[in-house]
């Protein structure tokens, strides 16, 4: 085949593309998937009964907002990774800093309590189900973001998949925080971070397979 023939083929017929037709896709995917996460929350888990009361405790907001910060940074990062030639820059730091912050807080708490109180703080009542539940809550956003990415053009598919996972994991952890009763920094530092890490690793491994174009 001659390249000129291909050029003629591509340039014949309708060639227009609406400007900015790609810009809202990932945002729309998150908006479409978020209600599904809430359906899982209400259907399978339920809100924590003392939610209104908990809203007056700073640790509750740490628990809701640190994953949301990760999700926001991952959203910016995945938007950039979805377009060829757009540099990732430092957006990913926004995802790392909240994790470092919660680890620092956890270390502070860990060393400031007597040894016999440490393990209960770390394990809480629900360590068995926490990471898995966050992964479960992350699933709708994870799938929707991957679908959106398949319509875009990530040139670094493993990174794009990981960022999609961080976005999903952050959203999932924030939603799960409305159910979860745990409020200690060591618990969040281990189990919430693990719950977010699961979709990140899954995304990094699925990206090269599912996001090829």
């Amino acid at each position: 085949m001659k390249t000129d023939d291909l050029v003629n083929l591509l340039a014949t017929g309708e060639v227009a593309v609406p400007r900015r037709s790609a810009s809202g896709r990932i945002g729309l995917a998150v908006l479409a998937a978020l209600p599904v996460s809430f359906v899982i929350l209400f259907g399978e888990y339920g809100l924590r009964p003392d939610l209104v009361q908990a809203m007056f405790w700073p640790m509750f907001w740490v628990k809701v907002l640190f994953p949301l910060c990760i999700a926001a940074a991952a959203f910016v990062t995945v938007q950039r990774l979805a377009r060829p030639g757009v540099r990732m820059r430092h957006a990913w730091w926004g995802g790392v800093l909240p994790v470092l912050g919660i680890w620092g807080l956890a270390a502070f708490v860990w060393f400031s309590v007597p040894i016999e109180e440490r393990m209960p703080l770390l394990m809480g009542q629900s360590w068995r189900i926490c990471a898995l539940s966050i992964g479960f809550m992350a699933l709708p956003v994870f799938a929707a973001t991957f679908v959106a990415l398949r319509g875009l053009a990530p040139t670094r598919p493993a990174l794009a998949g990981a960022a999609a996972g961080a976005l999903a994991g952050g959203v999932g952890a924030s939603v799960y925080a409305l159910h979860c009763m745990e409020l200690t920094a060591p618990f969040l530092a281990v189990w919430y971070v693990s719950g977010i890490a699961v979709p990140v690793l899954l995304g990094a491994s699925l990206g090269p397979r599912l996001l090829r174009w």
């Binding site: 014949t12 017929g13 053009a153 040139t155 174009w213």
Partner: protein, 194 residues
Amino acid sequence: MARNTVGSRTTPSDAEAALRRLFLRGLDGDAGAYREFLQKLSAHLRAFLGKRLFGWPDEVEDLVQECLLAMHNQRHTYQSDQPLTAWVHAIARYKMIDLLRAKSVREDLHDPLDDDLAVFAASATEASDAKRDLGGLLQTLPERQRLPIVHVKIEGLSVAETASLTGMSESAVKVGIHRGLKALAAKFGGGAAP
């Protein structure tokens, strides 16, 4: 070697501005400008890839075509405030890595995957034929994708004419073109390699 690189007198930034103007007009629906853009772009890609794939001159034209089709399919991902060079370079690099990975000779490369962004630095207009056969690849597509591509993109019929000719709806024709070109891109990269 017969393929010679025609050193263009324009600087890369001139080329960037000219190509970008043509591309943006194309995105607004100017098919003539879009054709000119693709022609100039293919010459730049040929020079850019030829320099980096000097070990496999036969692969260059295949890869030029693969890049052109990929850029066409992904043209909605270009942001008009972004340098076109960066967008083109990222796609060309992605497709080149894909090819090299398929050849699994990455370790033998000296340094073709540099971060030199000078996609538009040179232009080579003399094309050799690619080994790939478009007609044969089109035959492998399902009818709902093949017919719209043949009628609209090769014979130059309008979407409405194609719709009445094939009995498909107009949106089905458009979707068929879109999906068919994506499917072709997948075949360009994968199954078509000898």
